[in-house]
Symmetry: C2
Subunit: 724 residues, 2 copies
């Protein structure tokens, strides 16, 4: 890529971005689009737009900048606030690095006269390369400046990461100690309950076990049931209810149109409503609902009494007891009665809870194996698919396309793009696949599954995009070399990275201009919403569903940002011109996402910042990758003091170790200190807490029946009395 085409690509991206920003400014002012641009505010019951409507089209920037962290937590939860800490940490590292590196390294590199590099370089992109480390001759004393820069970037990263970890830790503590009765703070999840002794149900076993171990604080238990059947019936029932509402809406509308009597909507009962008997929809749905309600009730009874699984939720009557119980070893055989803090009710993955200990382990390692294979061999199916999707094959498979395909213009375009389309389709499927795999591990909570997915996606991007592009398409053969001679990775990184600097410059620029432009303008959701509203939605509920904004999608967002920070860090000293690009990426991202977090997305769960240790570790991994690369590159430059980078690598590991020891466990468990700080003496409403965990397809009254709850309550009362 020569310099002019680089500039062209950059300019194009910039123009697209500016265009999208104006689109956003224009569209977001139309009241009919408010549900797309301000759904979070609308659902929170706020005015869509702060202040008067005739404000400047760029006031959103001011608003995003003005919003404090507290505002973000109120509007979008702690997890989102932690994501901003991540963005601003990345930004901070790059800004502080840039302040030192750009004035220091650019003159050092620019004024160096390296005949060798000029001849080596194939003439392309000389202008930028002159400002990079490649322009320094071997063994030059100028390399000292680059060594100092390597240290500077690392220390900046340590400093910012340490402060960020501390900040997030406090944020998490503040969230946990906030008063209020979050059900998950009173609850623990017990798995691997051993088979109940004869003549006892699991429920009775659990109750007697926990009553003995926590005589004063145990409130009641809820045995996890296999409610697949009940859920199916419940879903069917809900479907008919929706259908009924929709049919009634259509009928009412047709009545108002024809003024006299409307046509009653009809449908067919067969496959997809296309075949079968024609029936009156309203009558049909009413009938079905009447039929399903008792069926559901019977199924609920059966589920609660007979489909008990060897897991349970245990409710305690105070937070300290629950936090303490969640961390304490209960059984002598430690693979039975394993306890953990209960996830939020909304993020429980019910079907994963009853998995047994060794089954979970087995699933986990199997999934790891599959992910490893996916990461390493992902390119193979894509290549195969590309080969099959050539034009000639397509013509054979779909002969009716022949006349279209035979036109020379269309032909050229298709031939050029078919492999890329295959790649894009495959890449688009990846997050779904990874999420499916993560859930298959047996992880019991949504937020944990998102973290697991993000981790897997991160490995994928670093291996396939970063290392794949850098080392070249021969990832598998490189892997073989690396396994045989682990040392070669260092020189390999050192040799290949500098050659690809321009590719990544364009990549980062494309990512931020086009990516964030699309993000801000929300063109695609807008179009889908308007189409749906016009042609599909009949009831209020359906319209609401059409604009439901979803959540921020950390599972793919975080690893994508991670890829950028990895790239920018690795190139920061080799080609310091990349730093401004990174700064723009994270700066723009911070701004755009802040607007989206305040106005658009609605988090579907709250893990109180448990994502942070995950992010922290990966930024550190990127830093270490960067240090190893620098070590290799200094070696290639025959710099005598290259080994001075090694203490830095060791330091990074020590830093990781210390951070881990100082902060990490407090993200896994709730420290007692934090709960004790709360100082709220109000008596929790235990019934509400219990009901929060009842799955919607099961009726909470049923639990009480099964429970003989009155009996338990009277026992508890007598206990309290005896204590007095």
């Amino acid at each position: 890529m020569d310099f002019s085409s680089f500039v062209t690509s950059l300019t194009t991206s910039l123009i697209i971005f500016i265009f999208l920003v104006f689109i956003f400014a224009w569209l977001s002012r139309k009241p009919s689009n408010e549900v797309i641009y301000y759904p979070n505010r609308i659902l929170k019951g706020l005015e869509p737009v702060n202040g008067k409507r005739t404000r400047s089209p760029f006031s959103w920037i001011g608003e995003a900048l003005k919003a404090t962290e507290k505002d973000v937590i109120t509007m979008a939860g702690v997890d989102t606030a932690v994501y901003f800490v991540f963005l601003s940490s990345a930004l901070g590292i790059l800004v502080l690095s840039g302040v030192m590196l750009l004035p220091l390294l650019l003159p050092v590199a620019g004024t160096s006269k390296n005949e060798a590099s000029h001849t080596n370089d194939t003439g392309a992109f000389n202008n930028l390369n002159k400002l990079a480390m490649g322009n320094i001759p071997e063994k030059s004393l100028r390399l000292w400046a680059f060594l100092i820069a390597t240290y500077w970037v690392s220390f900046v990263a340590y400093y910012i990461l340490w402060k960020a970890y501390k900040h997030v830790s406090d944020m998490r503590a503040a969230a946990l100690e906030a008063p209020g009765q979050k059900p998950e703070q009173f609850t623990i999840l017990v798995r691997d309950i051993p088979p109940a002794p004869k003549g006892q149900t699991i429920k009775e076993q659990v109750d007697s076990y926990f009553k003995a171990l926590h005589p004063e604080t145990f409130y009641r238990s809820m045995v996890v049931t296999d409610h697949k059947e009940a859920y199916k019936i419940w879903e069917e029932l809900e479907g008919y209810k929706k259908k009924l509402a929709r049919a009634e809406a259509i009928y009412t509308k047709s009545k108002t149109v024809s003024k006299v009597e409307g046509t009653r909507p009809t449908n067919r009962t067969g496959f997809l409503g296309l075949v079968g008997k024609k029936v009156d929809t309203i009558d049909f749905c009413n009938e079905k609902i009447k039929e399903l309600v008792p069926k559901l009730e019977t199924e609920q009874n059966i589920t609660i009494k007979e489909k008990q699984q060897p897991s349970a939720l245990i409710f305690f009557n105070n937070k300290l007891a629950a936090a303490s119980a969640a961390q304490t070893l209960h059984a002598q055989m430690i693979d039975t009665w394993t306890v953990m803090e209960a996830p939020e009710p909304c993020q429980l993955i019910w079907k994963n809870i009853p998995f047994k200990f060794y089954q979970r382990q087995l699933r986990q390692y199997t999934v790891y194996g599959i992910v490893f294979l996916t990461v390493v061999f992902y390119m193979i199916p894509i290549t195969v698919i590309s080969a099959f999707t050539t034009l000639n094959n397509l013509k054979k498979l779909l002969p009716f396309l022949k006349p279209v395909v035979n036109q020379p213009e269309i032909r050229t375009v298709l031939e050029a793009y078919l492999p890329q389309i295959a790649l894009i389709v495959f890449l688009a499927l990846l997050p779904t696949l990874l999420m499916f795999l993560s859930k298959a591990e047996g992880i019991p909570s949504e937020s944990h599954a998102v973290r697991a997915t993000s981790g897997k996606y991160f490995y994928f991007t670093v291996f396939n995009v970063f290392l794949g592009v850098t080392i070249g398409g021969t990832l598998i053969s490189s892997l073989k070399t690396i396994l045989d001679k682990p040392k070669t990775i260092v020189t390999m990184l050192g040799t290949s990275l500098p050659a690809n600097a321009t590719f990544f410059l364009t990549f980062v620029a494309l990512k931020f201009f086009v990516g964030y432009g699309l993000e801000l303008s929300r063109l695609i959701p807008l179009i889908i919403y308007h189409l749906k509203r016009k042609y599909l939605c009949k009831t209020e509920a359906e319209v609401k569903e059409a604009w439901a904004p979803g959540n921020l999608g950390f599972a793919t967002r975080v690893p994508n940002d991670m890829l950028i920070i990895t790239i920018v860090l690795c190139y920061s000293v080799i080609a310091p011109v990349i730093i401004p690009f990174g700064v723009v990426y994270f700066g723009l991202g911070w701004l755009v996402i802040r607007n989206q977090a305040l106005n658009v997305y609605i988090p579907s769960y709250e893990s109180n910042g448990r994502m942070w240790p995950h992010m922290h570790t990966r930024i550190l991994a990127a830093l270490i990758l960067y240090q190893v690369t620098m070590f290799g590159y200094f070696g290639l430059k025959k710099f005598l003091y290259a080994p001075l980078v090694i203490p830095l690598i060791i330091m990074s590991f020590i830093f990781a170790y210390v951070c881990n020891k100082r902060f990490y466990l407090a993200f896994c468990f709730t420290p007692l200190e934090i709960i004790a700080r709360q100082n709220n003496k109000e008596i929790p409403n235990m019934e509400t807490i219990f009901e929060a965990y009842v799955p919607p397809c099961l009726n909470s009254d049923k639990f009480d029946d099964a429970d003989q709850f009155e009996d338990a309550r009277s026992q508890a009362a007598s206990r309290t009395r005896s204590f007095a």
Copy 2:
């Protein structure tokens, strides 16, 4: 070594053993020796000998065999019982292996005609070698028998280890759930207390912290103090008290001897009582004691009030609360307020408690480094020392030895033995060195330090004795090869092991015959005791001190047994004749040590079997070493199915993982279940529990003063009232 010299060595050992057993039978019947042969029974207040004294000299065998595990636990504690589980597991593995391997492999090997092995073998020790795997020709189908044997030994080991782990786990549970008020079950140890806020003492800080976190169950706290000074004074005081008692005893004795007036004993006040003013000992001691008592009191006050360290013992008013608190994260910054279960009062290493978190880490890794260097380079100082302790050097250094050394007979003997003596001295120093290093890690309890020492010693023996002998003296060069090409260890083990079979046969035989003979006869303690009693001891207390039996010394005993099991396992298939030797070692050991445990040794601490996971892991490590060796040896025999050993190695790792997951944590923490099983409603005497932890050199009243305990008690009372 040829066959006849092997037999000679064996016979000599056997004769020594029989001689020592008779010595024991004879000496142990003399009443004056009872304190040497039955001290445990005497100190427990039992009759030294069960039943009538004129019993057969070998009745101890019957008694040892008859004693149940419960007897052992009563007489010598759970840790000793666990040691017997270890011995019988090793015995079980070897017996079950032998039952299959000897009838299967000896005929297979014996009837094989391998010309190559006969010529290869340098003629030595052919008779035994014919019964070993070396006698099988390459690629022979007979190797299948050896492969099956390899599997058999492994499965036997898995089976026995699993059962043993389960058994020990139950034993530990039974010990923990036994009723009674062990102080350590009510107590937790808190380290890394952050600096107290201004105007607060550490004591106040600790109290308010734990009162907030455990409002109902916190009883009181004891801040750890730096009582080095107080201890020094206390020790001096105790020394003078002893001296006084001794002087009085001498005086009384001299009075009875001279009938009229005894000579008052005198001593000199200077260095070692050799120089300085001569004084009357009784007066001098009385004076000193009078002087020291108020000094100690002042120091105690200062210590408790001003020398508080950032660690504390926290007492809870019930066991469930203490067990739960010891496992719960307390602080948001997890490197502060770290909690653990308190060790027994008697095994607390006070000076290690106040070390800070990162200091402990640093110490640990430093110690690991030193141990690594010690293990790898231990032979170097020995070689150096040997070079310096040649006769000529000795003559130069100690010229007065010249006439003795110049005699030719003495000269020969000395020249032959000097290097060995240096080696023995160095080896004798090793356990002390390793114990010192383990304590320097900052480990807070004696039993943990013993485990750590045992681990280090195990590495030492395996590396220096087992691998050292096997691979040859060039351990360092071998290490270099291994680091360069890790694969070579497999072939190296395969090549070198078979050649050394006879050495190890003799080694094992020597160990059990001479070692256990000496152990049983207790000749050395007996001689020392009689010498001391005759020439040194004047008071009853001094006599008692002279026969105090000490404990079993697991720190060196366990790794020595480990070495034997490693050797026997590794040779079990290669040269099955070693199995009977192993069986005799562990059988005899079991018998002799059982006698010693029941009658002689007194455990100085009780860790409720926490040694077991340590032993289990090391037996498994030996098993894996054995499997790797077999893999190498099958490869050398060009056996096509040698890779079939690999699944076995993987299986061992899975087995280790599963055992660890199923049992291990219950050895680190006390599971709530076990405590809840106790079902004892008695109210603990908290004052006794608290006092058990007061170091003997500090006065417990002082704590109460510092505590304003009355105040705390009244608060507790008002809390209970408000709860009612």
